[in-house]
């Protein structure tokens, strides 16, 4: 299954997926609505503390730092140097001038993205996709939409396996898939059609399978899994809401 979920015995893992979804949406909306650098840094610290509570290794975020760090540099350079609306010149070097308000604007954009990524990490790494979708189904997400999301996470690895098998079969018949870009593109072309056709065929058969398992039945769906909304879930929502609101008032 295509998932980044990592199980740890942490308080964050034990929370209802809807709580984590609420946190994520709240932090993202507030981050994108705010233009106050202090407040954005405060939200970044809050998100980082939540990551620490997950007991997940911070190394998991390594890949994101590789994306975030160049982005930080680029945002600061672009806004600090070439943003036409920036006026407060900090210093001049060679033929360009670095502007303070531009640098601050770059930092704001950076923290918005950082907050988005950090809180999304909490949701993705501590919540199994199946738990999240089933929780959303409980509050009214259409089952067809839930199925589409969950099935995608399950079928993409299968499609990759199919593609590998087809590629092996084509290579066994002498197809060259290594070499320069032109050779690679030409090599992969004969593979595309079988992969697409076998996927369409599988999708058709799977629809039959859903039909015979009463998926399109209009009866109200019940759930095999237990979805308990605990007091701690309510408190978690209230606490996060207070942190965000009080931070906004006092900073």
């Amino acid at each position: 299954m295509l998932t980044n979920f990592v199980y740890k015995d942490s308080v964050i893992h034990k929370l209802n997926p809807l709580v984590k979804l609420f946190w994520t949406l709240l932090i993202i909306i507030v981050s994108f609505a705010s233009f106050d650098l202090k407040y954005l840094i405060f939200l970044a610290i809050t998100s980082f503390l939540i990551i620490l509570l997950t007991k997940l290794s911070v190394r998991i975020m390594k890949a994101s730092f590789f994306v975030l760090f160049p982005l930080l540099i680029m945002l600061i350079i672009f806004h600090g140097i070439v943003n036409p609306s920036a006026t407060q010149v900090l210093f001049k070097a060679w033929f360009f001038s670095v502007k303070l308000d531009g640098l601050l604007l770059g930092l704001k954009y950076f923290f918005r993205l950082a907050n988005f990524i950090m809180i999304a990490y909490v949701l993705i790494f501590t919540t199994h996709p199946s738990d999240l979708i089933n929780s959303l189904l409980k509050i009214g997400l259409p089952k067809q939409l839930g199925y589409a999301v969950l099935a995608t996470t399950q079928f993409i690895p299968l499609m990759i396996n199919d593609a590998k098998t087809i590629m092996d079969a084509q290579q066994a018949r002498g197809l060259e898939t290594k070499g320069n870009v032109v050779k690679r593109v030409l090599g992969f072309t004969p593979m595309i059609m079988p992969v697409i056709l076998s996927s369409i065929d599988s999708a058709y058969e799977r629809t039959i399978s859903l039909e015979i398992r009463s998926f399109f039945n209009s009866t109200k769906r019940t759930s095999f899994r237990d979805f308990v909304w605990k007091k701690s879930d309510t408190y978690s929502i209230i606490i996060m809401f207070l942190i965000v609101v009080l931070g906004g008032i006092f900073l």
């Binding site: 969950l150 099935a151 399950q154 039959i208 398992r213 095999f224």
Partner: protein, 276 residues
Amino acid sequence: MIEIKNLSVKYKNAENYSLKNISFKVNTGEMVAVIGRLNSGKTTLCQCINGLIPNFVEAKLEGSVIVDNVNIKDSKISEISSTVGMILENPLLQISGYAVTVEEEVAFGLENIGIKKDEMKRRVKDALNLVDLDGLKYKNPFEISGGQQQRLAIASIIAMNPKTLVLDDPTSQLDPLGTDEVFNELKKLKKNKTILLVTQKIEKIIGLADKVLVLNNGEMLAYDTPSKILTDYDLLKKAGIKIPLVVKIQHEKRIPKNKITLVVKELKEVITGESH
């Protein structure tokens, strides 16, 4: 109860009929085995019984298919699916993709028909025990072997407790031991269900099926008891079905048709009796 009268099926854009004028009846508590070579119409027949034809698959259906006094032509698949359970030939394609564990996969159909949680848990447990998959209940359905996926497909349908079971070669990916287990379970289920079983393992239907339906190019070649069908050398040859060794030997010894036996223990007696 399945009652099929003058059933003919022609797929959209096809030149020929895939099933031609088929008529037979299966009573509750009976099992019919359907045998025939590739493209003889076995899967088409299965799809007619659970309403996929004409409700889902584009095909023209002539005649009538009545399952438990309901005419399939006049019903929706969603209504039929809770009373007619079908197991497909390819178990991988029967996995919903919705569930992340084996037990949730079994529960998928039950969730769709609105079974209450306690009842659902009991049925899931019973179905998994039946196919001996209890030890794998927390595994991802895509990460188990083909044979295990086939048993999972069987458990998923059995848990829904349909009155009629249509099994399209449910042991195609099972080893001999797994095949025996499935056939033994079918024997137990037979008591209060109507079962239509498509299979290539004809030796297994002796003592299990009440009747055998032989299909060839969409036509019904014969519909009779297993002992009559499986001892008919010419019929099996015409239908392109592997002839049981015990029948082959007796045919070569020119034993008359009515004296051919399927019981190996009786073979010596029949041959020596004929030679005297």
